[in-house]
């Protein structure tokens, strides 16, 4: 969805004004205006157009003051907001018309009409409000059309609960919680009615057992929830660490290789001391670490010499020999997969294969192996022979030592972050911890399942035989059904929560790196949607502009989520992103963060409308340096002036705009300045 044109009639400061975003409305639109000039009114106008109501923070008076004052008592006029927008390649025209009457000096709305026309097809949309709510859900509006104060919900101490509530609304979880509470209350009432009917001892015993099992169920569910949260945290940390390592693959790979080279060296030295003992095991392990450490190219010259010396005889498949000679490394990788117990061997070395990078250029060999066309036995035998010869000569010790030194030098030259090594180690820990946590969760779930089975048995007994013959039967069944349905809804809500948090974490993670040095920072989203940013495992202080910037990241992340998901009350997912309209949301940001914040907003939506005080206009924009905003499709600057309390004219804002022009250089040719006429 993109806003194209907003036309206001008798709406607050604007008797007749048009904010035209142009036919190509993507890009960054800056509206400058002093306090009281109408910036917030513009934001409110979008709300009014879409939802028929104003922002909470704005007084309920709609009509332009002088128009209203000119009315006689009981005389009526109208306020209208017209919005042209595009959505999924169709053009729409929306008109919200509100009739207001002056009654005893007060403004009284007396009628409201909404029409929505698809300009592309000429059709009228039959139930426009429903259409709007499905395309642009009201619960998203809070994050897309927002006054600066909403940012406080994200980070102000004491307001975090508001954020949690906002996100729960967005994910549709609040309604599920409300339903759960309603069901529980109804269940209690049914139980009370049941207790009021005189029953026999058997039923009493069953009900009491039922209650006991229900208590157990609650305890077990709480344990599962905790264990699941721990698992989720571990996975989340693993994901973010891996992502960082992925992004810095060339550097982190060196660390992985160094780690492997050290092991290879230790193994080689050990085996050299006693090369007869457990040689086969050693060969396998050495093959693994040698591959990981990318030692193939180092070993290759020796293999080449052996080949030249005719040491391999004529019995090796030509293709394999050729591969070894061409790609010394690949053979080790294939060998690993040829060994059924390679996982254990490698695990014994304290690693996992997830650290391995199988280079794409060897993909054909791997495919051949996986497809069964590679003579694995021959490759394995060849490898054993090669390493055996290397072992007996002691060459391998020299090779790995030399390789280790080179790798360490390479790491030093790469300027890698010291935390990379820490991350590599942490990933290994996480990879070991996750299966244990999964196991714990499985055990707990099994226990839960046992309790559920017992419960089912008890409930069957309760609903069987004579009990079902009188008034108690339906009540017992209703109570049991409600319980089971609540459980089901709860678990579905849990899944929804997990999925939403996981998406949100991913989006936030992607947005953080340019702001913070991501090597230091981790972002996580808790079960109740508290967003934490930690540095080296410690939560960072909520000081400076970082917090506001994080809020903006969150808004952008939410917009991205909104684009790709059906959230909340059954809205249609849209392939388009939503416009962002922000009222003075950046004015409190630290200067160094302002420009980055703009970048995020841009990333969060392809149409951003920023309403700013003129004094704040030049500062955030000039921070980008020349050409910094070239990624923006266009910069539009509008001014709102002539308001009695502000009296801002285009001349007065010109110095700021000129500063913007200087900053943008060539991009300024695309910049358009318009004055909104009131």
């Amino acid at each position: 969805m993109k806003f194209q044109k907003l036309k206001l009639e008798n709406f607050r400061q604007f008797r007749d004004a048009t904010l035209d975003f142009g036919s190509d409305s993507e890009g960054f639109h800056l509206v400058l205006g002093s306090n009281g000039a109408g910036k917030t009114t513009l934001l409110s106008a979008f709300y009014l157009a879409l939802y028929g109501k104003s922002l909470e923070s704005i007084s309920e008076t709609l009509c332009t003051e002088d128009v209203f004052e000119a009315l006689a008592d009981e005389e009526a006029t109208h306020v209208a907001v017209n919005l042209e927008f595009t959505h999924e390649s169709q053009n729409y025209f929306l008109r919200r018309y509100i009739k207001v009457r002056r009654s005893a000096g007060k403004e009284v709305p007396v009628g409201d009409d909404l029409t929505l026309t698809n300009l592309s097809s000429g059709d009228q949309i039959p139930v426009p409000q429903r259409w709007i709510n499905s395309k642009f859900p009201n619960n998203l509006a809070k994050f897309l059309l927002f006054p600066g104060e909403v940012l406080e919900h994200f980070f102000e101490p004491g307001k975090l609960d508001l954020l949690s509530a906002d996100i729960k609304t967005l994910a549709g979880l609040d309604k599920l919680e409300m339903l759960e509470a309603a069901c529980s209350n109804v269940q209690t009432r049914i139980k009370q009615r049941l207790a009021a009917i005189p029953g026999d001892e058997t039923l009493g015993r069953l009900i009491s057992r039922n209650d006991g099992l229900l208590s157990l169920l609650k305890i077990k569910e709480a344990e599962i929830s905790e264990a699941s949260a721990r698992l989720s945290d571990l996975r989340s940390e693993l994901r973010s660490k891996n992502q960082y390592l992925d992004e810095n693959r060339s550097k982190s790979l060196i660390i992985t290789k160094i780690d492997a080279a050290k092991r290879a060296r230790d193994l080689a030295m050990e085996a050299f001391r006693d090369n007869q003992s457990e040689q086969t095991e050693f060969l396998r392990a050495f093959g693994y670490v040698a591959f990981t450490a990318n030692l193939g190219p180092k070993i290759k010259p020796r293999i080449s010499e052996m080949h030249a010396d005719g040491l391999f005889g004529g019995e090796w498949p030509e293709r394999v020999i050729e591969k070894i000679l061409n790609d010394g490394q690949c053979i080790c990788g294939c060998l690993l997969d040829s060994m059924p117990s390679h996982k254990e061997h490698f695990a014994a070395l304290g690693g996992t294969k997830s650290k391995l990078q199988f280079p794409e250029q060897y993909r054909d060999l791997l495919d051949a192996f996986e497809g069964g066309s590679l003579d694995v036995a021959a490759v394995g035998k060849l490898w054993e022979e090669i390493v055996s010869k290397l072992l007996s000569s002691g060459d391998h010790v020299e090779i790995v030592s030399q390789s280790l030194a080179e790798l360490q030098q390479e790491l030093q030259n790469s300027g890698a972050d010291p935390l990379l090594a820490e991350f590599v180690a942490r990933v290994a820990q996480l990879e070991a911890a996750i299966p244990k946590q999964e196991e714990e969760l499985t055990t707990l779930r099994d226990e839960l399942s046992d309790i559920n089975n017992d419960l089912e048995t008890v409930q069957k007994e309760m609903t069987a035989g004579t009990i079902g013959q009188d008034d108690r039967g339906p009540l017992v069944r209703q109570q049991a059904a409600l319980l089971r349905v609540i459980q089901r809804i709860k678990s579905e809500a849990e899944t929804l929560n997990d999925e939403f948090r996981s998406e949100l974490t991913r989006e936030l993670t992607q947005k953080l790196p340019p702001v913070y040095d991501y090597a230091d920072f981790d972002v996580s989203v808790s079960k109740d949607f508290a967003i934490r940013i930690t540095r080296n495992g410690k939560q960072i202080s909520e000081a400076q502009g970082q917090t506001q910037l994080r809020a903006i990241c969150t808004v952008a992340a939410l917009n991205r989520l909104a684009k790709s998901h059906t959230l909340g009350s059954g809205s249609d997912a849209s392939s388009e992103d939503y416009p962002l309209v922000i009222d003075a949301g950046l004015s409190n940001l630290g200067e160094s963060f302002q420009a980055l914040a703009l970048d995020y907003l841009k990333e969060g939506s392809s149409q951003v409308v920023l309403l700013l005080l003129p004094a704040h206009a030049a500062t955030p924009l000039s921070h980008r340096g020349a050409g910094g905003f070239k990624s923006l499709a266009r910069l539009h600057i509008y001014t709102t002036g002539n308001h009695p309390s502000a009296n801002i004219t285009s001349e007065q804002v010109t110095p700021e705009i000129r500063a913007v022009f200087r900053t943008f250089g060539a991009a300024a040719n695309e910049t358009k300045i318009e004055e909104l006429v009131i």
Binding site: K175, L179, A181, L238, R239, D246, N452, S491
Partner: protein, 61 residues
């Protein structure tokens, strides 16, 4: 991390704990409840409870 034999790289799926299997009547109740809750704004708890009570009485005999 990506590339390589996929079995080693894919994190295990989050275990799907989808709650108890429901009978057709209970499934119908669940859908009716979810559909009903969408019609209510937050804070309308008492009305929702009345609707829940009515639904359960109608669907579970």
């Amino acid at each position: 991390m990506s590339s390589g034999s996929s079995e080693f790289f894919d994190a295990p799926d989050i275990e799907n704990n989808s709650g108890p299997d429901l009978t057709p009547e209970e499934e119908a109740l669940k859908h009716a409840l979810l559909s009903k809750v969408q019609q209510f704004g937050l804070g309308q708890n008492q009305q929702l409870e009345a609707e829940v009570e009515e639904l359960v009485r109608r669907l579970i005999k």
